[in-house]
Assembly symmetry: C2
Homo-oligomer: 149 residues x 2
Amino acid sequence: MLSQKAKYALKALLILSERPADVPVQVVELAEEGNLPRKFLELIMLELKKHGMVHSQRGKHGGYMLAALPSEITFGDVVRAMDGPLAPIPCASLTAYRKCADCTNEKTCAVRIMMRRVRDAASEILDNTYLSNMSSDGVEALSDQLVSA
Amino acid sequence: MLSQKAKYALKALLILSERPADVPVQVVELAEEGNLPRKFLELIMLELKKHGMVHSQRGKHGGYMLAALPSEITFGDVVRAMDGPLAPIPCASLTAYRKCADCTNEKTCAVRIMMRRVRDAASEILDNTYLSNMSSDGVEALSDQLVSA
DNA sequence: CAATTCCCGATAGGATCAATAGACAATAAG
DNA sequence: CTTATTGTCTATTGATCCTATCGGGAATTG
């Protein structure tokens, strides 16, 4: 499941992607344009900042700016930052592997093998799509995307 | 995330897949062989029965049996029965679509488009792999599987 | 009838999630 | 320098779900 947090984060970052890179956008503005709960979004932006994905400026005319180009930030980056590993089960995760308590022979565990495949498929999609691929300009070129994917 | 429930269900069903189809297997036996919590597994087997995936027999020498051939039950069936839709977000689900409260224009929502792709990829994997593909016999033929997948 | 085994309801602790409130800190503008 | 603005941070809340267990009831076999 994708959390609300991750969904809101993605929406906010996509909004930022369509703005000039050097003009800070306030949380209130992000919340209104994205139809997102303001206070909750504050937390989220803060967390994105801690992950180095956005910069912030305080005081009047302050706000948030992307810390990298929209063509450098993937959906996978954002989802992992907010929700943790893509793998449906820890024993199938690359970035946060953890053994199942109940597992006896991991090498042949069908569940793990299958969930690893699911993880790989999700990664293939999310780690190869950048914010720039999906901003309103980008979405127009979507039919091309779908063919190549 | 795959719940413990779904994981246990899959493990139990895989055990049943390797037994003669007409001999009931008791919950205790499934729990021991699979290293699963017995009481919890009782609930799970019951739920699997309600979903028509297993039959049960009461009384002495009772237990559970698969309601279909291992070559007829997919991982997707089991995961959906236990955890609900595969889609990471309801608005991207085929089987249990629900609109996001905050969404304004669904057609162009990047989050939805991406999550739909993830859903499709997971479905492609889980709905095309059967219990029989992953029972201990099946796992030997795995390298073939991987090539074709 | 007695033993066995599934069936079922209740429940409990814990974790996580979604969201808000309210005070504090930095910055810009006048 | 003062004031308004806006990000920063901590705490807290309610809700929901997850995992798991307990204990007894109902069916079936021998």
